[in-house]
């Protein structure tokens, strides 16, 4: 029991929640609340007829493009902000405000400017994902341990060496976790744009099955996108731990 305790408790925890869902659906608490088993059956059906894969191919498109653009520009801008006081003064207020602001409110304007196509959706993903990537990169660069920079200077490093051999490797764990948070925000953006701008992909399954009152399918689609996001983000976190194991330790005595 003791060795498998964490796993058993996780299973028990899942059993309780899904059981409660099933019971609430059986009562039912609402005409629009299907049981857990019905929803899973709908998910299985969509999986076997392939419709869910078609939907994800469409949903993930703006997400992948948007996150890629945000990563390139966000890290570039973040490095610049972290290295230059002037740049920090000029740009960081924008991203600090963006970080706190409900950027979703920009969606109607984006739709007016770029229409209802892929461009708008990519933009939504970008504005959601960019601030955290920029701010994480900038603060990682600023927080490079001073003693490492001093060490490099004392061994006659040039500025380029300090950037490439000290600052970038020291900052990469925080930059990576900024990317992970960016992906997480990007998921919100991608889903939001499918629900708000035009129903495509998974957003289409959700909207369509709601309109024809096929609630099990609607719940199944929502369940699957949340599951996908959580699994993907967890994998990124695992990868982060493997890649940067020990990177934050090993300075003075710990």
């Amino acid at each position: 029991m003791t060795r498998h305790r964490p796993l058993l408790l996780k299973l028990l925890s899942a059993l309780i929640v899904f059981g409660a869902w099933e019971i609430a659906g059986r009562i039912p608490v609402s005409y629009a609340f299907p049981t857990f088993l019905d929803s899973m059956a709908a998910l299985a059906r969509m999986t076997f007829d392939g419709s869910i894969f078609v939907a994800y191919a469409e949903t993930l498109q703006p997400l992948v493009v948007g996150v890629a653009i945000s990563a390139v520009f966000g890290i570039g801008l973040g490095l610049w902000i972290g290295l230059s006081k002037g740049f920090e003064w000029l740009f960081s207020p924008i991203f600090i405000v963006m970080q706190a602001a409900p950027l979703a409110a920009l969606i109607p304007i984006l739709v007016m400017v770029y229409g209802i196509g892929l461009t708008s959706k990519v933009f939504v993903v970008c504005i959601m994902a960019m601030p955290v990537i920029v701010l994480n990169t900038a603060s990682a660069v600023r927080n490079t341990p001073a003693s490492l920079k001093e060490m490099a200077t004392s061994f006659l490093a040039r500025d380029r060496d300090v950037l490439l051999k000290i600052i970038l490797p020291a900052a990469s764990p925080v930059i990576f976790s900024g990317l992970r948070l960016g992906v997480s925000a990007g998921f919100i953006g991608a889903i939001l744009s499918e629900l708000k701008i035009t129903p495509t992909g998974v957003g289409d399954i959700i909207t369509y099955s709601r309109s024809i009152a096929d609630y099990p399918s609607m719940y199944a689609a929502i369940f699957s996108i949340i599951l996908l996001a959580v699994i993907f983000l967890n994998l990124l976190e695992k990868l982060e731990n493997v890649l940067f194991e020990g990177n934050n330790r090993g300075y003075a005595a710990d």
Binding site: S147, E150, S154, F155, P169, G250
Partner: protein, 263 residues
């Protein structure tokens, strides 16, 4: 065992490092005031004093990591304007690259100087053996104990073959027993390497144990209050130093003069 004034010392030996009339001002705090000190070649000089006496500031000015407000530093007759290949630094917090192996860390100084990979790794391996870390080349800093990490820092400083080694409280983050072993090894190193060591510490026993010359700094603003050159126990074996009467006398005397500066 009389305290010897800086002026008289200058005449006696040839100096590797000369500090002349150096002052350092941070904002409106005077950290160092008109400080003059000579560091004899091939010897180990300790900078000893209570916290806040500016000993680390002085060391970093010698290293070229901090600019002096006024006064000048000469290393082998050359004026110091910044870090140079004639000096290397051992850091209090080790300053190891956490993402690099022991081998790369030790070779890092040479890497920055553009030495080819195979050559610098051969040199690094030699010094890794010398500090007693053979077999740990592929390990990463977080897999080492505090004492081993500082051995890496020491090997890195040795591998660039600088004439002057600057050690900033190198043993303060390691435990007491490791520290004793380090002190013994340091004595051996001074004997073998024919380099000039400048050693910052706040431990009286440590300073007396390892030094050829001890400069006592007093704070606010920092100045050299006296210079002590132990004479009788320097050639004794490491095991006998701590019971030498002169050793004990010097420790007591330094404590008597520093006592009033400890809060």
């Amino acid at each position: 065992m009389q305290p010897i004034k800086p002026e008289t010392r200058q005449a006696v030996t040839d100096s590797a490092v000369s500090v002349r009339n150096v002052s350092k001002v941070y904002g409106d705090v005077q950290a160092l005031k008109d400080l003059t000190l000579e560091f004899p070649r091939g010897e180990l000089t300790s900078l000893l004093g209570p916290s806040g006496c500016g000993k680390t500031t002085l060391l970093k000015i010698i290293a070229g990591l901090l600019p002096a407000t006024s006064g000048e530093i000469e290393v082998n007759g050359q004026k110091v304007t910044g870090p140079g290949p004639d000096r290397s630094f051992v850091f209090q917090d080790f300053a190891l690259l956490p993402w690099a192996s022991v081998l790369r860390n030790v070779a890092f100084g040479l890497e920055l100087r553009g030495v080819a990979k195979s050559e610098r790794e051969a040199i690094a391996e030699k010094y890794i053996r010398e500090v007693g870390l053979a077999g740990f080349e592929k390990k990463f800093p977080h897999q080492l104990s505090g004492g081993m990490r500082q051995r890496v820092g020491l090997a890195r400083a040795l591998s660039v073959n600088a004439q002057v080694l600057l050690l900033d409280e190198p043993f303060s983050a390691v435990d007491e027993q490791t520290r004793r072993k380090f002190q013994e090894d340091l004595l051996q190193l001074v004997k073998n390497e024919k380099k000039t060591f400048i050693f910052v510490t706040h431990s009286i026993e440590e300073a007396v144990y390892v030094s050829d010359q001890i400069a006592i700094l007093l704070p606010r603003p920092s100045r050299v209050s006296e210079i002590i050159r132990p004479s009788s126990f320097r050639d004794k074996s490491v095991d006998n130093i701590r019971r030498d009467p002169e050793y004990l006398d010097i420790v007591d005397r330094i404590w008597a003069s520093l006592r009033s500066y400890v809060e």
